[in-house]
């Protein structure tokens, strides 16, 4: 406990000096109770948690040892023994009413102080817009870049402005000790500062902690902390990555990456997910052929994809149908699926839609996880897990 005090005091000191002061706190290692601490507030929160824990240990062992001692010492000896213990003692009772009161008042003020530190973002915070949708996070950066995993610059306060497209979600980065519910119809904010870049393939989990339905437990992203220069480079690259890909290479270069956002609900191998599979139900072909030849499975006489597409139908070509389904998902549902998909209007460019349609057309070139089977063996190896475009 003692070795944590300096960090705690340093945190308090940094408030006085203003948010520009960045002490560059080292991460705290995972302990028996708490995960790695990787944000500037983590050490303060952990200190309070540990402090309460020690108080709790003390009172728990006090209560249980007194109980066990009395049970042994005053065990019944013979059935007829009636015991004459005291029935009350005013001072004693006042004492054990007042003592806990003092302790909890102290603890309250510690928690209050920590909370204020957590809630007030410094003025120079780097702002990232977060959109929560069932069942994925989407992060949008000031220069227009969008990613499914969260990338943040090290040593700089980061403020998340969050909104939900559908139900309640909650963004939880455990290593940063921050959590905030994302309520539809409101903007929620959250801030943190991570001083140490994540190394190698390490990252911090971003969990959804407010129950949001079937894929709730899959609604997690990774948070990568990059050194400031690397982050700038990544951000610029991320904003342009789609534009740089030639049209004929879109489907295998961009398609799988865009599909990662869809994979929490849609599969490629015909397995039923929260949404319809893009692959055929017998495991052959793809959604494209299925629509062309009208082999889509009908359930309970409801609408199949092929009911929307074809000469004289709502959409002459599948492209039109697919485009509309990404932008206005609720308008033409295929049974047995309800209106569960959020709109992606504003989140995906036309080029991105082209890439996804191309991806669906060429599903036979991909495995069930969306890995391109025709990739040259060398290309697959040069894909670093972290800063690659997402």
């Amino acid at each position: 406990m003692l070795n944590l005090i300096p960090n705690f005091l340093m945190q308090a000191e940094s408030d006085k000096l203003g948010s520009a002061f960045t002490p560059g706190l080292p991460n705290t290692p995972k302990t028996f109770w708490l995960p790695e601490g990787a944000s500037t507030i983590a050490s303060e929160i952990d200190w309070i948690f540990n402090f309460i824990n020690y108080i709790n240990y003390f009172f728990f062992f006090l209560v249980v040892s007194i109980m066990l001692y009395f049970v042994w010492k005053y065990r019944q000896k013979g059935r007829d023994v009636y015991a004459r213990g005291p029935s009350h003692h005013l001072m004693l009772e006042l004492g054990w009413t007042i003592l806990p009161t003092i302790i909890v008042v102290v603890i309250f003020f510690m928690g209050f102080r920590g909370f204020i530190d957590m809630r007030v973002p410094p003025a120079n915070s780097y702002q990232i817009d977060v959109t929560a949708q069932r069942f994925a996070w989407s992060f949008k950066y000031p220069n227009g870049a969008v990613s499914n995993d969260l990338f943040v610059p090290a040593g700089q306060p980061v403020k998340l402005i969050m909104r939900s497209e559908d139900v309640l979600h909650s963004l939880f980065i455990r290593d940063f000790r921050v959590k905030q519910d994302v309520v539809p119809g409101r903007f929620a904010t959250l801030w943190f500062q991570a001083d140490q870049p994540t190394e190698g393939d390490k990252f911090h989990w971003v969990f959804c902690t407010e129950f949001c339905g079937t894929g709730h437990s899959l609604m997690n992203s990774k948070c990568f902390v990059l050194p400031e220069a690397d982050f700038k480079e990544w951000e610029t690259e991320q904003a342009r990555w789609l534009d740089k890909i030639p049209a004929e290479e879109l489907y295998f270069k961009a398609g799988p990456k865009l599909f990662a956002r869809c994979a929490s609900c849609h599969t490629l191998d015909g397995k039923l997910g929260t949404g319809p599979s893009w692959g055929n139900y017998d495991g052959t072909g793809n959604v494209w052929e299925r629509n062309q030849v009208g082999t889509s499975r009908k359930v309970d006489g409801g609408k199949a994809l092929s009911d929307f597409i074809g000469p004289g139908k709502q959409y002459e070509t599948p492209e039109g149908y697919l485009r509309a389904s990404i932008l206005n998902p609720g308008e033409h549902l295929s049974d047995p699926y309800g209106n569960a998909m959020p709109t992606f209007r504003g989140q995906i460019t036309d080029k991105g839609i082209d890439a996804l349609i191309g991806f669906m057309k060429h599903l036979d070139e991909f495995d069930a996880k969306g890995v391109w089977l025709k990739a040259p063996p060398a290309a697959a190896a040069t894909d670093p897990a972290k800063p690659a475009v997402k």
Binding site: F49, I52, G85, S87, R134, R177, T209
Partner: protein, 564 residues
Amino acid sequence: MTTLDARPISTPAPDNYLTHTRGLMSWVFTLDHKRIGVMYLFAVLSSFFVGGVMALLVRTKLLFPGEVSWMTADQYNKAFTLHGAIMVFLVIIPSVPAALGNFIMPIMLGAKDVAFPRLNLFSFYLWVLGAICAVWSLLAGGFDTGWTFYTPYSTQFSAGGTIPVLVGVFILGFSSIFTGLNFIVTIHKLRPPGMTWFRMPLFLWAIYATAIIQVLATPVLGITVALLVIERSFNIGIFDPSMGGDPVLFQHFFWFYSHPAVYIMVLPGMGIISDIIAVHSHRHIFGFRFIAFSSIAIAVFSFLVWGHHMFTSGQSPLMNVLFSAITFSVAIPSAVKVFNWLATLYKGSISLNTPMLYGLSFIFLFTIGGLTGIPLAVISTDIHLHDTYFVVAHFHYVMMGSALIAMIGGLHHWWPKMFGVMYSEFWGRIGCALVFVGFNITFFSQFMLGSQGMPRRYYQYQPEFQIYHHISTGGSYIMGLGFVITAIYLIHSLFAGKKAPANPWGGASLEWQCSSPPPHDNFATTPRVGDCYDFSAVRWDEKEQGYVVDTEAHIASANSGKGH
């Protein structure tokens, strides 16, 4: 042989409430609070079985971090929702007040019945109707909102059985309100002469405090679920932001009921424990007034702390701070109770019968449940722990480790009174030990799981959490075994148990002074009331194989002012 107020113990009443009338209809239309209590008990324990099976299914799934072929994510979501909803609405809330309270409360009070016997029966049938709605919900596709029914998920996305279960919760709410109303009036109006407030057993104080919460808080729940049904059925925007509503408003409404409801669940349990500890220590309860008033204090404070469920919801930071501060006010009366129970053990004559083992288990588990509430009441640490398994572990320690363990302890304490038979003391202790050990293995591991960051309501999880889940699931099987053994020896005792004396433990409150099982009308004459925690006139009687109370000495001792 001593003469008692009601009937001499050695000449039991010609019949008892079980044999007074016969036939199915005599039960279906009974107005006897004891029979209604027994029907509640049967219904609540059946629901407990169903909810327990759901819990074991959920725990078994969680042995595996990924998907399992025999339970999809949707089925998992429905299973944990059903577990929570059954345990809260069908089991814990009615368990002590409606089942044990119905049976014991009027007898303890010295009354022949509750104030409104017909309303009492009506409450029971409302419970049955609510349970039928839960079954209807399952047939309509189940529901997967979690027991909290958070909007807008519950109005837009959740499975087809959501409206039926909301209707069920609405009806169960009325069952609870009527029971509370009935008990308040009973305690005010039907106390016999001499039964002053400060001679009333602490179980009755607890039941009374609970009844106040039931009557004042439950209507809010009723309105809330009714609004939810209206929104879901007619698309009227109340909580859904896409129609102009406010989902956080729902959380305020919901917790305005559901936080006091936590005390509806645990306060009666605390009452049971006060009685068990005193009777099985054979000495006067320590600090009667502090315990009694702490029940009332908890009931009052419980209405002011609901916002601590919403520290991360986006409510204003000022409200977070206020709710955090007020929340600590509940910690103090809870701590006072624990210290008073400990002091009651001091210089006692402690017999480790099965009910007492449950009583001591309660002190152990409630201490953990209460202390782990502190990091959840402190805002900055709650931000990290909220909606993780830490919260799951904490409220299981309070709602199961405390409320339900007290209920089972109370069941063992009054089982001889209710059915006139003794269960096997040996198997009783084995069952209690298994439940206690299994419970701690199951839920203590979940504290680590949660503080390490595992969110609740996850179907799949990261492999790093698997070890804790394995420990937890192992514990749940041990606990399940404990409950199976308990069910077996209790049922066995009904058919083959030794006949119970009127007063097997040496209690001095009124219920021990009528025969086991009690006669139809409880007391032939108005009982005379002494100090129910004064055990100086209680003696073991070889012939009875039970304790007897020397009434004259008991009353004289109380009137001499030696009590409190």
